[in-house]
């Protein structure tokens, strides 16, 4: 007769080191664990609460400028280098890891309004209200030698003087063109002192320009006549214009979806558009209570950051109607420019208070080296949070944010106003002939027209 005994092989149960974990064998029979769902729900709840506890997004401020930071540019080839330009004409290259200036680029007489770097990271282009475009050679080795803390200054490689002041500049992806915004849109080559192409559609000032990273010949601009215009360099012509009710301050293309871009509007909303259907926004991202000054997509294309005149930085899902995160500090003033870091895990904001601020893209993310078990735990927490995010308690805790009083009040007021407007419209609709009054959806309401 065969007698069953518990048999254990020594290999399976022996630890290599005394610090190793004991191996645990489990019976995965669901019949043995009738409470599993309840257990996981409680875990999700705890994970959400832990997120709130660990939410410490602010990493540090980078001070050095003596005037408001007006624009920033990330270095596409280096993770920790970022350029910033200020209203007094100062341009700095920062080492984010050390949080200090690596070198300065003096030369601009007026405010620097636009900064951009070529894709290989060797050339920095700056432009400003002094009607000049300056090209700089970025010191490649500077980051290596950042230990000796002598701040170097760099002379511009070339200076191009033009007829009008500039409002913005952006570099083509993987090409040698860059486009400036000013009285018109000019497309420049690195080696020429004159624009190789100029576009004008309407007579108003162009205030922002952004190349499409996926389609390097497509660029979008916004102008002070409240329009957004698309250009195609291959056709050497503007392509389509769309006029909204309010001005668009900045545009950012989704790096993972070259058909989509998001416009930061003066009315406090961001509008995501499909370039092929400009008569209707894909999504309206609401939450800011004042003009959105700048916008930048994460390299993953799944979220973007906005900086607003209401002194906050917000993070949105690329398809989310409301922000998933709001960052603010007491000392941060009007935010003029924001950027996502190259790895998508940090956010940099430049504001009126002459500082750059470094934030985590995920407020409660654990920094530093994460051990595999820790990572697994985090992943598990993320997964159950995602699974139970619709349940009322979980969503309530996850959505709760402590806001500065002015913003809280303003958002409340805006809510009341919107409510009143809606009610009024409903009443008007109810008391007029059916079909005579139609309400446009918000996605279409702010668009005046699309011009061919």
């Amino acid at each position: 007769m065969k007698v069953k005994v518990i048999s254990r092989s020594v290999d399976e149960f022996t630890r290599e080191r005394s610090q190793d974990l004991q191996r645990v064998f489990r019976n995965y029979d669901p019949g043995l664990r009738p409470q599993e769902k309840a257990v996981e729900y409680v875990r999700a709840l705890n994970a959400v609460k832990l997120d709130k506890i660990f939410a410490r997004p602010f990493i540090g401020a980078l001070d050095g400028h003596v005037d408001a930071v007006s624009c920033m540019a990330k270095n596409p080839s280096q993770l920790k280098g970022i350029f910033s330009g200020s209203m007094d004409g100062d341009i700095r290259l920062w080492d984010l890891a050390a949080r200090r200036t690596v070198c300065q680029f003096p030369g601009h007489q007026g405010a620097v309004r636009g900064l951009t770097a070529s894709t290989d990271g060797h050339i920095l282009v700056s432009c400003g209200t002094d009607c000049t475009i300056r090209l700089w050679n970025v010191p490649i080795t500077s980051l290596m030698e950042s230990d000796d803390s002598t701040k170097s200054t760099i002379e511009p490689a070339s200076v191009y003087v033009w007829k009008n002041a500039f409002w913005g500049v952006d570099h083509q992806w993987d090409g040698e063109h860059f486009a400036t915004a000013g009285a018109q849109v000019d497309v420049w080559n690195h080696n020429r002192s004159q624009p190789i192409n100029s576009f004008e559609w309407g007579s108003d000032t162009v205030i922002s320009v952004r190349f499409n990273p996926g389609e390097p010949n497509l660029l979008a601009t916004s102008a002070s006549d409240r329009s957004i215009i698309l250009y195609d360099l291959r056709m050497a012509s503007p392509v389509r214009k769309m006029i909204m009710m309010t001005k668009t301050n900045s545009i950012s293309w989704n790096p993972m979806e070259p058909i989509n871009f998001t416009a930061a509007n003066e009315d406090g909303n961001c509008y995501s558009y499909d370039t092929r259907k400009l008569d209707e926004a894909k999504c309206v991202h609401k939450d800011h209570v004042s003009a959105v000054m700048d916008i930048d997509y994460s390299p993953t294309g799944r979220e973007f950051v906005t900086g607003s005149y209401d002194r906050t930085v917000r993070l949105f899902q690329f398809n989310g109607g409301h922000s998933k995160e709001i960052y603010h500090t007491k000392r941060m003033q009007r935010v003029f420019c924001v950027k996502f870091s190259g790895d998508g895990s940090y956010v940099i904001s430049g504001s009126d208070d002459t500082n750059l601020r470094l934030w985590k893209a995920k407020a409660s993310e654990q920094l530093g080296v994460i051990l595999p078990r820790e990572r697994k735990k985090h992943e598990y927490h993320e997964a159950i949070k995602k699974r139970y995010k619709h349940l009322p308690e979980v969503s309530r805790i996850a959505k709760h944010r402590h806001l500065p009083r002015p913003i809280y009040k303003a958002s409340k007021l805006m809510h009341v106003m919107a409510d009143a407007k809606r009610k009024k419209e409903e009443k008007r609709k109810a008391h007029s002939a059916p079909g005579s009054i139609t309400t446009q959806p918000l996605r279409r309401r702010r668009i005046i027209k699309e011009v061919e």
């Binding site: 489990r26 995965y28 664990r33 599993e36 769902k37 309840a38 257990v39 996981e40 875990r43 990493i59 080839s77 280096q78 993770l79 920790k80 984010l96 890891a97 949080r99 980051l143 290596m144 389609e215 497509l218 698309l230 195609d232 291959r234 056709m235 012509s237 503007p238 392509v239 389509r240 993972m256 979806e257 058909i259 989509n260 370039t275 092929r276 390299p299 993953t300 294309g301 799944r302 190259g342 790895d343 998508g344 895990s345 940090y346 470094l358 920094l367 530093g368 697994k376 992943e379 598990y380 993320e382 997964a383 159950i384 995602k386 699974r387 139970y388 619709h390 349940l391 009322p392 061919e452």
Partner: protein, 802 residues
């Protein structure tokens, strides 16, 4: 031709007047507009109609009419372009119907009549007068101009305008009151000259073949068209991303770490960056980076030392076929040698010694060598196997099968033999009787004797059975083995093959019984005697052993036992009748004996007896049980008993409690709890009782109304309940606050149905509930982001935590 010219000038004049009169009309006029064939036909068919309508109209109406028509024609404007239907072209037309100038003129006239101006001209004198006056008033030009116009009205034909009318581009008649000068005008004076015909022909030809160039579009329009085209193109271009975007959006996880160039991640990569500096290093590098060496290294890194040999061989083989053949021959020879010496087969002394000492005690090198030898052997023998492997393997399997079949039979034989031996042993042991102690007492001894008898008897039975089994050769039907489970008469049926043995023992008992023989047993025996005669002889010795022992009770018991075991329901039936008489006795006996017997019995004999016991035990229970068990015995029962119907049973079971009523009450309670009945308004003592009047009035009406409303509301809500129509169901509509936390109020956005949503949360994803292999995919985040490091030189300085 002169007429033509005049017509044209007229036309131009009128147009200019009109343009002055109505600036909006001017816009319309600007574009090319000249006779359409359709219009002509219309005019020819009933030329008066349009005139009539025009007559009644005043000037403004005329213009409206004109505008309408212009719109209608707008699509055809290209075809009947003013430019293309220039004076020259009209001449071409003339050429076609050159027979009569009048006709052409008519045509022309009707054509012009399309224009509103012409129509006004056609109307009566009064109208004309008024019209000219008005024109004069507006334009400030002398009346004569209009008068002249009127006179020539029938001739004018064509508007030769290539450019939109404006102050920069005045038409000729505006400037000098006359029409354009055409080639015909210039040719006219030459009519009498000799070369005129030639010239005329030439000009005609030129006119025939000439095509006017369209006016270029305005800059704005042109830009618009361009933009449109560009937008279409870029739309198309961008749309190629659509599937990629779609895929990324639908993917549960997007990996951003694919195609990462990690730079110095591998040893090889680091080594490739190495630059020799010293003399020695340079020498080594020169050797290492030799092409041949590199190639060989790629082919087989481990055999770096044998490089030269292999290389030369390989090169030779590549060089000529002879070398290749030689090489193959050499390999074959080596192989044959190896096979012959059998070095690889652990046959040499060294290998033997090592094997003797045990592989485990050897060092690693030795073990590896042995392993290599073994592998070698395997390789060398592989070919042989492949040649004759299949057939041999088949043979062995066949043999195995046979063996297994044979072994089955053997096993049963052996088992039987063993059992037999054991029984014999038991029989042998019996002789030893204790001579002293408790067991030596007489009554104990008697008891022991009895016991022994029983044992002997059983042993005999068993041995007989074994013999039988041996004879039948294990081909016994499987039913016999599976009988034990069944309780009632099924057993007897299965044991048919055993009956003969038992009956024999019966015979023996029957023969030896003297006093208490009841006869039935005998009769029974007689029945079976014929068939079992032979067996009796065979078992003589066992009978002899038991000769001295005879206990009447026992025999009776045996009888009953055997009879019950006997096949055929008929016999059983008879026996059972008989049994009912002598029941007690048999039963008692059975109980007494079975306890003693059972431990020592083994094998099928024991089985038999146990079956019998069961039988008797079953019978010894109450009658009713017998009836329940089988219908056959029901006729024997003394008390008539009828099975109660299902309903009666239920009634009996639930006697004394009214379930339905209870349910009703419960439901009412729950209803009251969930929709409580409104409180009846009560008169508070002291309130509203100051006077008689108040008291008479009773409760205030608002209170009553409130109560009534509440009552109605309750009724409504009761009606709306889901279980309002269901009599036997309670559906609770009470909200469980604790459970509410676990539910969403509405279906969350991306989900389309409740089932899908619930499904999404059903299977747990934790490490306690899933094996480690499954946790990774279950918990994988949406974005799997890894650092992409472009310049590895900076990697050291780029720490992610900033």
């Amino acid at each position: 031709m002169g007429e033509m010219k005049r017509k044209e000038t007229e036309q131009g004049k009128r147009r200019s007047h009109k343009s002055k009169r109505n600036p909006s009309a001017k816009l319309k006029k600007r574009g090319p507009r000249l006779p359409s064939s359709l219009q002509k036909q219309l005019q020819q068919l009933n030329p008066t109609t349009s005139d009539d309508t025009v007559d009644s109209d005043d000037a403004n109406d005329v213009y409206e009419y004109e505008e309408e028509r212009a719109e209608e024609e707008s699509t055809r404007n290209k075809r009947y372009d003013p430019a293309s239907v220039n004076d020259d072209l009209s001449q071409v037309l003339e050429d076609e119907n050159v027979q009569s100038d009048d006709e052409s003129e008519d045509d022309d006239r009707t054509g012009t009549e399309r224009n509103g101006n012409a129509m006004t001209d056609d109307s009566g004198e009064e109208d004309d007068g008024r019209h000219s006056r008005m024109l004069q008033a507006i334009t400030g030009m002398p009346r004569e101009a209009f008068e002249e116009n009127k006179k020539r009205k029938k001739r004018d034909n064509i508007i030769p305008e290539l450019y939109p009318e404006s102050e920069y581009n005045p038409s000729g008649d505006v400037v000098d009151g006359d029409g354009h000068i055409t080639i015909d005008d210039l040719l006219d004076p030459l009519r009498e000259k000799p070369g005129y015909g030639k010239l005329r022909k030439r000009s005609d030809r030129i006119n025939k073949n000439s095509r006017t160039i369209h006016a270029p579009l305005s800059k704005a329009v042109q830009a618009k068209v361009e933009r449109k085209a560009a937008y279409e193109a870029s739309k198309k271009d961008v749309s190629k991303w659509q599937p990629i975007v779609q895929r990324n959006r639908e993917a549960p996880t997007i990996f951003f770490d694919e195609n990462v160039d990690l730079g110095f991640s591998t040893v090889g990569a680091i080594a490739s960056e190495f630059e020799p500096r010293t003399e020695f290093e340079k020498k080594i590098a020169a050797l290492v980076h030799d092409d041949k060496v590199m190639e060989a290294h790629k082919q087989d890194g481990s055999k770096l030392l044998e490089m030269n040999k292999i290389k030369t061989e390989a090169s030779q083989i590549q060089m000529d076929p002879e070398a290749a053949e030689e090489y193959a021959m050499k390999r074959e020879r080596l192989r044959a040698e190896e096979r012959m010496t059998l070095k690889h087969k652990n046959k040499n002394r060294w290998a033997k010694r090592i094997l003797q000492r045990g592989l485990n005690s050897q060092d690693e090198g030795t073990r590896a060598a042995i392993a290599e030898q073994l592998q070698r052997h395997a390789e060398l023998t592989r070919k042989m196997h492949t040649m004759d492997g299949s057939s041999s393997s088949e043979d062995t399997s066949d043999e195995d099968d046979e063996n297994s079949a044979g072994s089955d039979q053997d096993r049963t034989r052996k088992l039987l033999g063993k059992a037999k031996e054991k029984t014999m042993k038991v029989l042998d042991e019996e002789d030893e009787v204790p001579q002293s102690g408790l067991l030596s007492l007489p009554f104990m001894r008697r008891g022991l004797e009895k016991k022994r008898e029983a044992v002997v008897e059983e042993a005999n039975l068993a041995s007989q059975e074994y013999e039988n089994l041996e004879i039948s050769g294990g081909s016994e039907d499987p039913k016999a083995a599976s009988t034990s489970g069944r309780r009632v008469f099924g057993t007897s049926k299965a044991q048919i093959s055993d009956t003969s043995i038992k009956v024999k023992s019966d015979n023996y008992y029957g023969g030896s019984d003297s006093d208490n023989d009841l006869g039935t047993g005998k009769s029974d025996n007689i029945e079976n005697e014929g068939s079992d005669f032979l067996h009796r002889d065979q078992n003589n010795d066992s009978v002899a052993i038991q000769e001295d022992t005879d206990t009447p009770q026992e025999s009776v018991f045996k009888n009953i036992d055997e009879i019950i075991n006997n096949p055929g329901p008929k016999t059983t039936y008879e026996v059972s009748i008989f049994v009912s008489d002598t029941w007690k006795k048999a039963k008692n006996l059975n109980e007494g004996r079975s306890i003693k017997k059972s431990p020592k019995l083994n094998g099928p004999a024991r089985q038999n007896i146990q079956d019998a016991e069961k039988e008797i035990g079953g019978d010894s229970d109450t009658d009713s049980e017998g009836q329940m068990a089988d219908g056959i015995l029901s006729s024997v029962s003394k008390l008539p008993y009828e099975l109660p119907s299902q309903e009666e049973l239920i009634q009996q079971a639930f006697a004394g409690d009214d379930v339905e009523d209870d349910f009703e009450k419960d439901k009412q309670e729950i209803l009251n709890e969930e929709n409580p009945e409104p409180e009846k308004p009560l008169l508070l003592p002291g309130w509203g009782q100051w006077t008689h009047i108040q008291q008479k009035k009773g409760l205030p009406s608002w209170m009553l109304k409130k109560h009534e409303d509440a009552r109605k509301k309750r009724e409504e809500s009761l009606k709306e309940r889901k279980d309002a129509q269901l009599k036997n169901v309670i559906i609770s509509e009470k909200i469980d606050k604790k459970a509410e936390k676990l539910h969403t109020k509405s279906l969350p956005f991306p989900f389309t149905s409740k089932e899908v949503f619930e499904q999404s949360m059903r299977v747990p994803i934790g490490p306690e509930f899933n094996p480690a292999t499954a946790i990774g995919p279950l918990n994988r985040p949406e974005r799997h982001l890894e650092l992409k490091i472009e310049n590895p030189a900076e990697e050291a300085h780029t720490d992610k935590d900033v």
